[in-house]
Symmetry: C2
């Protein structure tokens, strides 16, 4: 067929999101979702929600959600920028903050979306090697660059960088914006939010998808100085004024208000993580120290791709990346104690 | 304060969305929302929704929603591209389809977001004058261009272009993509969806915000040939894989299934529109023929800006654009019969 319009179309190599199997009775440890439901307050707010209000546009100021978030993070409402999942807010950070002719720096092993956004927005970038134990070496980020993005804890390794090291990177790069992607910070790490008073070149990204067990509502946010938040807001308003629907706003508010449930769930996940690492070590696995709700683990005697495929056969889904340096590792989301016991027994059967 | 990073930031003149007054007891006729609540099926689906499922990522295939939409529009599921409100899907259309060194064509009086997206994505554009009765003149779109976008019915005028004229524009521009933004088509117009079989350079945009009374859930979609849908999907997946949250998907499905309620509401709005035009004509108003859920009206004896401000004082919000060619008009959303009667009496008091 003749397509005279074809050369004017923007063609992008599609980014392929992680597998989302449809079958019912599976153990899903592949996309770092919470094994626990969201706070019971979420159920209440949905039950009470007045559906008739949905005829109106959402609040684009998101005032109530900003208020509760500003309280738990001890920042000002004007320091918060909200969006449709942390992927959207990070994409908007890239589009807004990284307009330099020098390359953006990020680790060679990290969240696989960073280079995708660079390609989308024509941002130069340089992948900086993590060391052989997957540590991010702070000194590698002291050279000239057009901005920095670091996931802390890093994905898919789970490795955490101390707040002192993060601060040194920010402090050595005052002429660019440093984005710290804290999707997994609630599972044991110390947040860089406390540095916002000192640094106006810092942007900290958070999500409701992991520790708040609300991947389904798509809410993420950035905390940064008021001026940077204003630039993000302007770019957002030139793209889509109403990115956050009404129900997701109400649900997010309910979740933030229930701090007790939140603490309880994340502590359970941390405990299960440590137990799982121990059990796997008895089977010869070596696991990278993790501060996330997943672990990155390898077994010198058996190919990771083999374990991955065998687990699938018994309906246990973990994540395997067929990429240089990490193709002998499995990334396993921390589920309930019961799910992790089933995982360990399944692995035992595969390798013994 | 010293800001060494300031020159690397992308600074955009913020687009200012329409006024969203917070006060309770107002008549809100300024953002083209439906005066009727969404289908009762929406309330049911929310009541029944299993909040625990929100811990999981939404379906990014949106299979169920695509299925019901494909049925009502008589297209294939692969012809549908979904997003977070029609603003998001149009933005992605601009980013994906308009990569030409020739200018994008759109009317000088139209949805005010089109030139904002052009600026955001560095797209050349040319505003084509509508005639003095605000008609889009089809012949003006036959010249060389990098793409075309037309809102039909047009905003803020409400003017509708016949399907024959739309087809002629598409047919004369087979080498570019023609986007028809049908946000208001359900209020009396004939959709260009029927032309999809014949033209692979056509993209038709729809929204749940107006005729489906669901502005609060942020769902919009594009219908186009499978290949164009694939390009949109690739760009979307390079920006944000999960743009549509789980609850909005479920609510949209429920709404589409209740066709009877939908027909009933839109017929009521059409009737109220015609009644209002008649009543206003008795007060000396001249109204552009409208096929939308709003009217665009002027009174030769009184300044539109004055009526606008006076209505605000009695808590009736309509829309006024202080822009060349249209600064003597008011755009008034069609509310309930009762709301429109109150509007007409309020105007009577202002002008008599």
């Amino acid at each position: 067929m003749n397509k005279p319009w074809i050369d004017k179309i923007r063609k992008i190599k599609p980014y392929v999101p992680g597998e989302q199997p449809d079958i019912g009775d599976i153990i899903k440890l592949n996309t770092n979702e919470s094994p626990y439901p969201p706070s019971p307050m979420v159920k209440n707010i949905i039950d009470e929600y007045d559906a008739d209000k949905l005829r109106l546009y959402p609040s684009f100021k998101c005032d109530e959600l900003k208020t509760v978030l500003s309280e738990i993070h001890n920042v000002n409402k004007n320091n918060i920028f909200l969006g449709n999942g942390s992927d959207e807010v990070i994409a908007l950070c890239f589009q807004t903050f990284f307009n330099s002719d020098k390359p953006l720096f990020f680790p060679d092993i990290t969240y696989s979306f960073y280079d995708v956004w660079c390609d989308l927005y024509n941002i130069q970038y340089k992948r900086i090697k993590v060391d052989d134990s997957f540590k991010i070496v702070k000194e590698d980020y002291f050279g000239e660059n057009g901005g920095i993005v670091i996931a802390n804890p890093n994905a898919p390794t789970g490795r955490y960088m101390s707040l002192e090291e993060i601060e040194e990177i920010i402090n050595r790069n005052l002429d660019v914006i440093v984005v710290i992607d804290e999707a997994y910070i609630d599972f044991g790490g110390e947040s860089a939010v406390s540095l916002l008073d000192k640094y106006d070149n810092l942007a900290v990204v958070r999500t409701f998808s992991k520790s708040r067990a609300l991947a389904g509502i798509r809410v993420g946010y950035v905390m940064c100085c008021e001026e940077l938040a204003g630039y993000l807001e302007a770019v957002k308003n030139s793209f889509n004024s109403y990115t956050l629907n009404s129900l997701s706003q109400a649900i997010a508010v309910a979740s933030v208000k229930d701090n007790c449930y939140f603490e309880n769930c994340r502590n359970k996940i941390i405990n299960t993580r440590e137990k799982t690492i121990l059990e796997l070590s008895k089977l010869g696995f070596q696991t990278i120290p993790s501060m996330a709700n997943f672990i990155f683990t390898t077994n010198p005697s058996i190919k990771a791709s083999f374990i991955f495929e065998e687990l699938k056969k018994v309906n246990i889904f973990v994540r395997y990346f067929d990429k240089p340096r990490i193709d002998e590792y499995l990334r396993i989301t921390i589920g309930t104690d019961d799910e992790m016991e089933k995982l360990v027994s399944a692995i035992k059967k595969i390798i013994l």
